[in-house]
Symmetry: C2
Subunit: 414 residues, 2 copies
């Protein structure tokens, strides 16, 4: 048995123990880990310092260094995040549906854990703690594979989680960490469908495509967000402009940031100049089609690659469309099923947009930036799924479970 | 564009139309198809006659011929099945959850279709009509690939569905059929994840493994059922014996049939002889471990291959276990996450069994044969999922949908 296989098997065995833990027992471990993030602060920051040193030596970009760096504040936030997970209701054992059949059987549909969840992610070491916290509260073991830049930090954080598990006499294999960064090893991990129930890749396109190509384990994709706002003929300009501007500027590099504005032709003359001015003031480059550029000299010419592009930067595409139907057709063609919004005062237009745009989150008269587990009331999220299977949109605790049937009889046969 | 790709794309385009159909519009098509199954009976039976002729010429087994054959009664049953689907509530548009956020946003979690569902199945031509009926009512287009033996029958049935769609001015690409039986073509189909949202293979192990190995489309497995009944120390014999016997004999070749009886050691002397006698009378071969064979001369010796075996025949494995924990360990090792039952009057034992056996359906004091969409009140099922992702257990209309967020604001930004 290879090292990866024996770790995967150990995680599977641990998952049997986790599946029947009480809510209190789970919360105790999470609170213990939260406290250790404070008491063991020095050791974690020391591990992170090693990662940072190596990263600087290998000329990692400034943005990536920023994502890698841990601070006391960030550790406190991670601890707070765990305490928030403690406060969330335990999904395990929830009865989703109940009925009595003609044969007199009592049928319940009940939430149980998925089992073992593999997370493959890049950079940000806080994912190690967040992912463990969410998986564990939902009764799952997890198998974590972080980025090579964060190897020391991730190892230190995982060891903290394992210490918290040991302190509660629970199997430390409830969190397994893969330390090698060898692609063959990841490929091997992705064949372990006898031990792993779900794989969640979080990171760039190359990572997600690699997992998609090689995984025999079911996968929930957290793919890119090519988010649109369509400004309808019946839009209220006082709503449209702030939504379009802030949805890009408030956090330009997140997956729910706005990437493309579609404006109804009848409102273009009025709104394109205002929007382009506001974008220019905020340092946002507008890449417009011809009709946009005729109305705003500041816009540069968009080319075919701009439609459907996830900039994750202070850039936005802008296009004039002749109708709601054209906007829908554009989103179907170029969107990524992540988040799309309409600004309109017309109930009919809103309804048509909702009915015909199939994204994981559609909004009316609100910013795309609200598609987020915290904002939508899930409490915490492990990512935003862009595939329709199993979970679509922000994945919280419930999305880390499955439902099965428990049937109670009195000797019924058939 | 290959033929398969253009069909897959046509199905995707049709799925956009289906997603916003009213319940009435969908039911009209299903009722029309039900009527055509009667009015076009002669043509279907003629197509089936061709399949049967070719099957006989190629020496198909008697059991397979039986599964292939269509009769007037079977056509009536298929039509009734469609009428039952019409009577079921439409899952699309159902609001699963609703809340108002601190920012004043109205958040709904709403059911929408999955999109395009590919079914790859063997023999039984009735699956063509059942699968179309369920997928269509849940707003999905479907791409059907049936067995080569049933090619004429499946083509005739699918053409009937397409005629019903045309009569309602709906795109006939809502049901696409793959006629070639070439493995390369199936492999190509399984790469079309840009057009297909889910693949459901239904058939033997070889088929499921082939799909599992080659699919880039998310897959819900309907794998085999290695179902257990554990007869606890606190079992009521008057319940245990009929459950064990009928769960095997009432339909020995279905996936929810009993394949292995586990008996607590303290009840073995009393129950093993009774059970073996009843099985012998019913023509069931018992394959027992040593402790079973000491108590019942009629049992033949089980070997390692008998644990975890899906016989789908008048054969059952039987083993004496020392405790509930041993029974659970056996089921974890050899079960297939399909259906497992405990016979016990002890609430503690029932609870421990439910908590520790993770199958898609666990039962107390009832036959494994109740794990079935009709029996559990789903109305109809497209199969029984044995993987925890997306759906676990019988898949009805709801399991052919996904849920996404609809958020209504009044100009909120962040």
């Amino acid at each position: 048995m290879t090292e990866i296989e024996s770790k995967a098997k150990a995680a599977r065995d641990a998952s049997f123990v986790l599946a029947s833990l009480s809510t209190d027992a789970k919360n105790r471990v999470l609170l213990d880990l939260a406290n250790r993030l404070t008491s063991e602060r020095a050791a974690i920051l020391e591990a992170n310092r090693k990662d940072m040193e190596e990263a600087r030596a290998s000329n990692l970009s400034f943005a990536k260094l920023k994502r890698l760096e841990l601070t006391e504040t960030l550790l406190d936030q991670m601890a707070d995040g765990l305490r928030q997970i403690v406060a969330l209701p335990d999904p395990i054992g929830q009865v989703v549906k109940e009925s009595k059949t003609a044969a007199g059987l009592e049928v319940q549909k009940v939430r149980i854990p998925l089992g073992v969840i593999a997370m493959i992610y890049e950079s940000r070491p806080n994912v190690t703690v967040d992912a463990f916290g969410l998986c564990f509260k939902a009764g799952n073991a997890c198998f974590l594979k972080g980025g090579k830049e964060a190897a020391h930090s991730n190892a230190a954080l995982a060891e903290l989680a394992r210490a918290a598990l040991r302190a509660s006499n629970l199997p430390e294999a409830a969190v397994e960490v893969m330390t090698t960064n060898d692609r063959d090893a990841i490929r091997e991990l992705l064949t372990m469908d006898q031990y792993l129930d779900l794989v969640i890749p979080r990171g760039g396109t190359a990572l997600i495509q690699f997992v998609h190509e090689h995984s025999r384990i079911p996968m929930v994709q957290h793919f890119h967000g090519v988010c649109h706002v369509y400004v309808d003929v019946d839009a209220d300009a006082k709503r449209a402009v702030p939504i379009c501007v802030t949805a890009k500027t408030s956090s330009p590099a997140t997956c729910n940031t706005l990437e493309c504005v579609l404006i109804h032709a009848d409102r273009a003359k009025e709104l394109v100049p205002v929007l382009c001015k506001e974008y220019a003031d905020a340092g946002v480059e507008v890449r417009g089609d011809e009709r946009v550029r005729k109305l705003a000299a500041s816009a540069v010419a968009a080319n075919d690659g701009d439609w459907g592009c996830e900039y994750l930067d202070l850039i936005v595409a802008m296009k004039v469309v002749d109708s709601l139907d054209d906007a829908i057709a554009h989103i179907r063609k170029y969107g990524s099923n992540h988040t799309d919004a309409i600004v309109s005062e017309s109930a009919d237009a809103q309804q048509a947009f909702i009915r015909n745009v199939g994204s994981s989150c559609v909004l009316t008269n609100a910013s795309t930036r609200f598609n987020d587990g915290y904002q939508l009331g899930l409490g915490a999220e492990i990512g935003i799924s862009t595939s329709r299977i199993h979970a679509y949109g922000p994945m919280g605790l419930e999305e880390l479970t499955t439902q099965r049937y428990v049937v109670r009889g009195e000797g019924q046969v058939r």
